[in-house]
Structures are given as structure tokens and as C-alpha cells.
């Protein structure tokens, strides 16, 4: 906690935009974590008598064609969308940092090989990679996660590598090598800790993009499978009665949009608070 | 001999702070005066005050006077100052790149000064520039004229800046640490160049440095500065022969003498305080080896000595 305060993350909350976006994200996180206990209705139980009810009491966001509470499903969807995106991005970030750090530190042929492969994934559109993976592994949350992870791998690898290459020239690295430190010590105690801040910020922004990718795949029926509620899948099922019950599609769509905007605003606030704009340039 | 520059009880404020006060000296025609002190002692601020550049950093003169060739500059409006700067007063900075435009040929950057201040036309200015570069012992001036700053070494860039400072035939040069970033051989060449110019052109110069050996080599008079104020002034001979202020003594003691069996180098413990932390009484007292109780309480007056004066309670005492 001390390290967090010292790193300046707290400062991101000091501007109005940072406070609002950060606050929204925190609330969303709480909802996602506690969804099974706090949703007003059960998300899977159908109540056909109440299907396609307009927003009002007690269904604040209305109900869908099976009479399920939209608000509850949006809340539960946060759990699916956020966890899918965050897990995938977290995984991608760890692999990307390891690859980037090793490439940047050891250089040479290894670096060239890693960067060629990584740049190859970079040159394909995300959605194309996702579709290819779905074609191989089949639809479902695991292929969604895998697709998101692969789609962002290049960004994390490149950013980490650039940081490491720059940091390697600092005198304190040479001084530490001169004390007899192993590459593992240099990487884990000096290079990675100094390189991690911008990677985390980019990772956080990527979670926003991951949510969109997850929603897109879900929308095409390639992501979360029914009856698991996810924002994309909800919108997908909502298209059938777009005119009959527009709320079924509007509310999840709205939440996706607001969430992505909030993540981007908070990302900007973080960049400013941590003073790392310069380090993000050119990657 | 006539006085070209007279600074009296100069006082500078930046916002609510007063980083500079009680700076006085006078410079005669043909003389070189050294302003010396550790970094943060107020040398550059003094130079900026003389050049009318304080507004750039949000500062202003709040007391005293700066008289250049008989006229007071403290009340000079900016347009008139612009004529003076680069015209009758030339400035040489420590980092040549603060004076040079990286995207323009060095020759044309010198031309501009002559055209602006002397009203020369293009070809006259160019001829003059090439002549000036030759006078500054720059080899092949006609081809150097067409180069860009990044194609030149540090010492050569500094010569170009000197040429810019000289382009309008000034009466006074202000050189703010002109050799600090240079190698010793280059420093020696630049110092020789400046000394020759002073002699041959009858110029006067304020030479700012933190190095007492540069003062000993190149100056006629010295003002020693500490924490935003002058602490001792006098002729170079007197100051080195018989330094009266403990700070002056300490500064001289910091320079290794290249002689065998020389006395041990003595640093000055501690660091120069920043504006917000200037001490009460004598500003040097927390670091002073001679300090007594009075030093912390009472700001010492200037006590005159042979060819100078020192602001120390014990400046009159022998030893």
C-alpha cells in the first residue's frame, strides 16, 4: 500500500475526471465481485409471464424475452466481461513482459526472433485473430480469453522491450552488474520494477478494449454461451426484439460504452499522475 | 580610465523571494571582472539583471542600480534594452546551444546580429562574419560559415557564440561560465582568445566562473558571491594574496595546485542554501570554520582592506 501511495496512483484520483472514472470503475469492480449475492433477481430463472416488461418497478431496466431481469443480468454480465477481459489481459501482460524483458536484456538473435513473431501477430486485426482462434478451439469463453491475450501480446512485449533497452543504459544497471549481480537479479530488482508502471497503464487501457472484443464475440454468439450472462451475449439476444424491447439491448450497450470511456479516462489520469507520457511515446 | 559598468546595491526579487541582494561592483574600460562562487550563489541572476533578462524568469529588480556607460538601465524600457543586448553588450552562455539555432547555418546566425544592430546589408554582413571568424582563429572560416551547429565540436560552437557576441562590436562582454563544459586545452584556448580580444579591442568583460584558477588566470578584479550576495571584492592580486573572507579562502583552497608537496585539498562542508533557506546573520555561518556566536545573529558589514572589502565580522583581524 505504501508503495502504491508512493508511486503516485493516488494522484490519479485528484482531478474530477479521474475521480469520476476511477470511482465508477471501483463500483463496477465491487458489483462484479459480489454479483451473485446482490443482484435483485436470479439471472437464469425464467418468468415468461413477465417477458419483455418495460423498465419500471421492480425491473428497473425491464426484462428480456424470457422475463429475466435486465439489471441483474447487466450486473452479472459485468462479472463475466470484466473477468474475461482482465484475466486475458493479465495473462497477456505477464507473457508480454517476460518476452519483452528477455528480448530487451539479452538482445541479439533471440530478440530478433521474438520481435518478428510478435510483430506478426501485431499486423493482423484483433478480430481476425479472434475468429481464427474460435475456428480452431471452438466458441466459448476460453477462446475469447485466448484471442484477447494474443491480440495484446505484441503491445506489451514491445512496450516492455523499449523500456528495458532504455533502462539498460542507465549507470545504476552497469553499477549493479559490476557488483556481480546475475541477470535474474538485474531484471527482477531493477529493470522490471522500473519498467512496470507504463505497462500496467497500457494493460488497464487494454482491459477496456478487451471488453469490446469480448462483447463483439459474444454478440456474434462466439463468446459466452447461454445462459451465462455477458454484455455481448445480451445484446446479441436483444437484436431479435430490437423494436419490441429496445431496453434489452440499450442497457448492456450503454454500460459497455460507459465502462470503456471510464477506463480510458482513468488511464489518462494515471498517465498524468505517474508522469509517464514520455515513456509511452513511440510504442 | 572611465567606468563602463557600475552595479550598486543590486536587489532582485522573484515572486515573494529575494534571491539576490547587496551586489555592488564597478568595471572600468578594458578590465575583466570575475564573478565567482559555487553554483546557486547568484552569479547568473546578476548577469540576467544587467542584461534586462529577469522578466523571462518572472523576476524584477527591486533595489539598487545598474549604470552602463553613464545611463541607468534599471528603468530602461524593453525596446531600448533590445538594442543594447547583442548590440553594445554581448552575452556568452555556458551552453552554446542556448544561443544557437540548430536548424540554421552558423554563419547566417552571426550575420543576423550585425544586420540588426549595425544595419549592414546581406553581403557586407557576410564578409564581416567571415573576417570575424578568422580573427577568432577559426580555421577555414569561409567553409565553417556554411556548417550547422551539430557539425561542430563543443569548443568550436563556443567560438561561434563568441563571434555572435562580438558581431555588433560591443563595449562589454558578459560571459556566464563560458568554459565550464569544455576540456582543459579548449578552455585554455578560449580564455586566451577572450583575453586577446579584451586587449586588442579595448573591451571590458564580466567573466562568471566557479573556478578560482580561471579567475587568477584571466581577471583583474573579483567579486566573490555566496548565497545571493557579494561577500568580498577586490583586485585579483589582493584577493589571492590576502583573502579576507573565510569563503574566499575556502574557494581558493578547493583548487589543487599542480605542485608537489602542496597542502591538502580542503572542501567546504555542506552545500549552498537555496533562496528559501538563506540563514539569518552571515549567510555563510553554518559552513564557516571561523564562525562565532555573533555570525548567526548579525549580518556582517563590509570591512575595507587593501584594494577591496569583505563582509565578515573578522575581516579586519589579522590571519
Amino acid at each position: 500500500m505504501n508503495a502504491l501511495a508512493q508511486s503516485g496512483v493516488g494522484r490519479a484520483f485528484t482531478t474530477p475526471l479521474g475521480l469520476f472514472s476511477g470511482g465508477y470503475i471501483l463500483i463496477l469492480l465491487v458489483v462484479a465481485l459480489t454479483a451473485p449475492w446482490i443482484t435483485p433477481f436470479d439471472v437464469t430463472i425464467q418468468d415468461l409471464a413477465n417477458s419483455n416488461a418495460a423498465p419500471g418497478w421492480p425491473h428497473l431496466m425491464g426484462t428480456d424475452e424470457f422475463g429475466r431481469d435486465v439489471l441483474s443480468r447487466v450486473m452479472y454480465g459485468a462479472r463475466t466481461s470484466l473477468s474475461v477481459s482482465a484475466t486475458a489481459i493479465g495473462f497477456s501482460m505477464i507473457v508480454g513482459m517476460a518476452l519483452g524483458a528477455a528480448a530487451g536484456y539479452f538482445g541479439g538473435l533471440f530478440e530478433r526472433a521474438v520481435m518478428t513473431v510478435v510483430d506478426l501477430t501485431w499486423s493482423f486485426p484483433d478480430i481476425l485473430i479472434a475468429l481464427m482462434l474460435v475456428a480452431i478451439i471452438g466458441p466459448g469463453l476460453s477462446s475469447t480469453m485466448f484471442a484477447i491475450a494474443v491480440a495484446y501480446l505484441a503491445q506489451f512485449t514491445r512496450l516492455t522491450r523499449a523500456q528495458i533497452v532504455q533502462l539498460k543504459r542507465e549507470t545504476f544497471i552497469e553499477a549493479t552488474i559490476n557488483l556481480g549481480a546475475t541477470p535474474a537479479h538485474i531484471l527482477s530488482r531493477h529493470l522490471l520494477p522500473n519498467a512496470v508502471a507504463p505497462v500496467i497503464v497500457v494493460g488497464m487501457l487494454a482491459i477496456g478494449d478487451g471488453i469490446i472484443l469480448e462483447a463483439t464475440l459474444g454478440f456474434f454468439g462466439l463468446g459466452a454461451q447461454p445462459p451465462t450472462p455477458s454484455w455481448g451475449a445480451m445484446m446479441s439476444s436483444g437484436t431479435a426484439q430490437l423494436f419490441l424491447a429496445p431496453w434489452v439491448i440499450i442497457f448492456p450497450g450503454l454500460v459497455v460504452a460507459v465502462t470503456v470511456i471510464a477506463i480510458n479516462l482513468f488511464g489518462d489520469a494515471l498517465i498524468r499522475a505517474l508522469d509517464i507520457r514520455e515513456r509511452l511515446r513511440g510504442t | 580610465m572611465s567606468t563602463i559598468l557600475k552595479v550598486e546595491a543590486l536587489r532582485v526579487a522573484i515572486g515573494a523571494l529575494t534571491p539576490l541582494s547587496s551586489v555592488s561592483f564597478s568595471l572600468e574600460k578594458g578590465e575583466t571582472l570575475g564573478l565567482v562562487g559555487e553554483s546557486g550563489s547568484g552569479k547568473s541572476l546578476t548577469a540576467m539583471a544587467i542584461m534586462g533578462l529577469l522578466p523571462l524568469i518572472g523576476g524584477r529588480i527591486t533595489g539598487g542600480s545598474v549604470v552602463f556607460d553613464g545611463s541607468d538601465l534599471t528603468a530602461l524600457p524593453e525596446p531600448a534594452y533590445r538594442k543594447l543586448r547583442g548590440g553594445r553588450i554581448g552575452l556568452i552562455t555556458q551552453n552554446p546551444m542556448t544561443s544557437l539555432d540548430p536548424l540554421k547555418k552558423v554563419g547566417s546566425q552571426i550575420d543576423v546580429v550585425a544586420r540588426l544592430h549595425l544595419g549592414l546589408d546581406k553581403s557586407a554582413a557576410r564578409n564581416r562574419t567571415v573576417e570575424l571568424l578568422g580573427e577568432l582563429r577559426i580555421p577555414e572560416p569561409a567553409s565553417i560559415y556554411h556548417l550547422y551547429p551539430h557539425q561542430l565540436s563543443g569548443g568550436m560552437k563556443q567560438r561561434i557564440v563568441i563571434a555572435m557576441a562580438l558581431a555588433a562590436d560591443p563595449d562589454l562582454l558578459i560571459a556566464d561560465e563560458p568554459t565550464t563544459a569544455l576540456d582543459v586545452t579548449v578552455q585554455a584556448q578560449i580564455i586566451r582568445l577572450l583575453s586577446d580580444l579584451i586587449r586588442d579591442r579595448g573591451l571590458s568583460m564580466v567573466l562568471i566562473t566557479h573556478d578560482m584558477s580561471v579567475v587568477a588566470q584571466a581577471c583583474d578584479k573579483v567579486v566573490v558571491m555566496y548565497a545571493g550576495t557579494a561577500v568580498e571584492y577586490g583586485t585579483v592580486a589582493a584577493i589571492f594574496d590576502d583573502p579576507r573572507h573565510p569563503y574566499t579562502k575556502a574557494l581558493i583552497g578547493c583548487i589543487p595546485r599542480g605542485l608537489a608537496g602542496a597542502q591538502r585539498l580542503k572542501g567546504i562542508e555542506g552545500t549552498v542554501p537555496s533562496v528559501a533557506h538563506y540563514p539569518q546573520g552571515c549567510r555563510f555561518h553554518p559552513r564557516c570554520p571561523r564562525a562565532e556566536a555573533i555570525c548567526a545573529a548579525v549580518s556582517p558589514p563590509f570591512i575595507a582592506s587593501r584594494d577591496g572589502a569583505a563582509a565578515c565580522h573578522f575581516a579586519g583581524a589579522v590571519g
Binding site: A181, R189 | E38, V184, S213, A216, G253, I255, G267
Partner: protein, 319 residues
Amino acid sequence: MSEFLEVSRLSKRYTSKRGLFGAARSMYAVNDVSFRMTKGRVVGVVGESGCGKSTLARLILRLIEPSSGAVRFDGLDLLKQRPREMRRLRARMQMVFQDPYSAIDPRYTVADAVMEPFQIQGVRLSSAARSDMISGLLTMVGLNPQTASSYPHQLSGGQKQRIGIARALALKPALLVLDEPTASLDVSIQAQIVGLLERLQEEMGLTYLFISHDLALVKYFCDEVLVMYLGRVVEALPNTDAPARHPYTRTLLDSTFQPDPKLRRRIQPLAGEVPSPFDLGPGCAFAARCPRASERCRVETPLLAASGGGHAVACHHPD
């Protein structure tokens, strides 16, 4: 007694391409350098920036691999050491770096920084021993033990350099390479640091390789001096009283000012500038600037030759 450090015919060559299709050009940052050091001595390496001093330091500590040549430290051939053995050996040969501002990880506290050497070398300390060690090391380099919890950005340049020295000495090395440890500091702080280094050398019986561009400082501080020009050692002085025989060393001496106006120099103009190190032809690299250069100097490279009493000069016409 075997030599403590023996450097034989050490060279480091760099190649660079000019533009995309340009021909590869090469230069020797360090060219055929040989010398020996005995335990407990202070050997100075002096030369202008770019002459290869830092490259030589890195080669000696095997922070970079040489293009050719050998380094023996305490009887061990350093270039034959495997990575693990080399890492172990590093505890005994340490370095203080030129730039104190980036020599400490900004995320480390002073305590972390001075304890890191023990962590790296696998020395386990109880927490009581640890805090004793921290305050002992800080006191040794003249810092208040309370600075232990500070971060580097809270310290001055001089304080950071003291931390650099504490880190380098933590493991009680036998050899300390000092690469311009005071070049970025004020003269007053430079004198403090040099005083500290003198004291530590006496107390710990250290052997120093002291690199500087300041001949006056080197003459003051060192027992023996190596003078470098464009990658080569051009003169080796067995003691600081030995009169310089190489014209370049004399130029360096003549460029050094004394803090005494009675010892003003007559600065001789020096022809041209240091030539580009790339693709140097045959002959003496100093020939173009040397007042004594003859036809022979332009075609035949002078080699370092002993001239009695441990003195060696690489010049066809030494003094």
C-alpha cells in the same frame, strides 16, 4: 610479489556505418594499452573527453569485452573467468561512476542501495548487523546515518556520489576504479570527495585507478600518471614530479591554470582540434597539432618506449 593489476596490449575497436549504404568505418576507443599497477598505489589516467578513459575502465573491469589483449588481476586472467567466477570476483574490484545522478536506482532507498552489494554476493546479515552496517558505511563516507531512509532524488549530487563510494567499498574491494567521480560536481564538493577518497585510501590500503580530465587534480592525487590521447597511452609518468616529455602532456600542463595570479600562464595557441578517431592513418595522432612534428611523425606511429626510471614516452622527439 606478482603485479596486482596487469593490462597487456588491450584494445577495443568500434565499427559504425555511415548511412544505409555507407562504408563501415572503424575506430579504436582504446588502442594497444599496457601498464601495471602495484598494490596500494594510486594511478591516474588523464586525457581529454573521448580519449578512451571510460572504455579503458570498463575493459579492466570486464564490463565490456576487449577486441584483443589481456587483463590479469591478482594473478588471475580475467578474460578466462567464467560468468559465475567473474561475478564472484567483482566483489574485489569496484568502480565509482562519473554520473552520480543516475548511479542509484530511483526506487531504492539509500539503505537498500548500500546493502545491495551484500545481497548480490550472498552475504547474509542479521537485522542488527544490517543496521550497524548501514550506519557504519554511511558514517564512513561522511553521511548522517539518518539519510538511510532517503530516496536518491532527495539527495544532492555530492551526497549521491558518497553513496556510490559506500556501495563500491561495502564489500571491501582491493581495487577501486574511479571514473571522473567529481567531474559533474561543484569545485567545493569535488574537494570534499577527493579528501574523502584520500582518507579512505589511507585507512583501507586501497589501490585506486583514478580517471580524470584534470591534470592538476591527477598530479595532486596520484602516485603515477598515464596520459592518453585518442585511445593510446602517450606518456607514463612514474611519479608526479617527473618532468613531462611528451609534447601533448606539456600542452595539457600549459592548459592547466593555477589558483595564483602570480603563476599566470602564457597560453600558446594550439593548432586545430582533436582529429576524428575514425580511420586514423599511420603516424602520430598528435602530429597535426604538435609543434615538434616532423615528416617521420606523419608516417610512423611512435610506440611507448621506456626512457629510464619507469618513465615511458610515445614520441619521436621527446623532451
